[in-house]
Assembly symmetry: C2
Homo-oligomer: 148 residues x 2
């Protein structure tokens, strides 16, 4: 548990930097928030609020608290929300170093990352139209091999 960054694992480091963002934004550091960040940092795929709540141990914190914090973190740019075909949103840590999208199986909801993004041109078009603070939602849906 070094404070020396060279001795920290990747997720410890991610956790610390997310925590700093919270402090910088004047968020209070509470147990639910720490637990939520710790979970988000470990995540290999985006999860729904409900799933996040379950993984935190449903009894520990209220689902409402999960929602409220996910929203707060989203506003602070710490978390990304992605709307899905089914109407519920998935959340993941905003890992600023990397930009990727997902392919989601319509049947089993298995999710994999796709490490490439060509949306730059579209963002340029949009900013030419006068839009600012541009973000995008891009997700692919399909049926995976095992479900077929």
């Amino acid at each position: 548990m070094g404070h020396d960054p060279r001795l920290m694992s990747t997720s410890e480091h991610k956790f610390d930097s997310a925590l700093s963002s919270l402090k910088k934004e004047r968020f209070r550091i509470t147990e639910p928030r720490k637990a939520l960040l710790r979970l988000l940092v470990e995540l290999s795929k985006p999860l729904s609020a409900e799933e996040i709540h379950e993984r935190l141990g449903s009894e520990s914190f209220d689902l409402v608290t999960v929602y409220r914090n996910l929203e707060a973190f989203e506003n602070a740019g710490i978390v990304n929300r992605m709307p899905t075909e089914s109407g519920k949103s998935l959340f993941e840590l905003n890992a600023e170093q990397h930009h990727y999208h997902h392919i989601i199986c319509r049947k089993c909801h298995r999710t994999e990352k796709l490490d490439s993004c060509e949306v730059v041109k579209l963002e340029k078009l949009a900013s030419d139209l006068g839009y600012s603070e541009i973000t995008h939602v891009l997700e692919l849906y399909g049926v995976c091999e095992t479900c077929r």
Copy 2:
């Protein structure tokens, strides 16, 4: 109002071809369906089910009927559904000749088409992973000039 395609306006033509799709899929041609198709054909931007219902004149047909038909049309490939940041879906005619995306203002919800799509590479990646029946959702969000 000729039956000769050369005398028809674009939207008349789109309407007729959407109607043919319905017939081909063994849908029954009802008043709500005709009204819905006529509206979708004229649409310059994607609308929510609620907005579509209003434009049809809320008293004429039930909102449930709008939902049911939008879903049926979506399954038949006649309509596209796009999930949004706000949690509700927007719908538009699936104009098969053209593929475009939108830039949506977070504040006033003004929407414009962006006539370009570079997602082909991502779809290739996904199909290499074994996924089939691949579709994608890609929408940009920003703040338009007037809202800024």
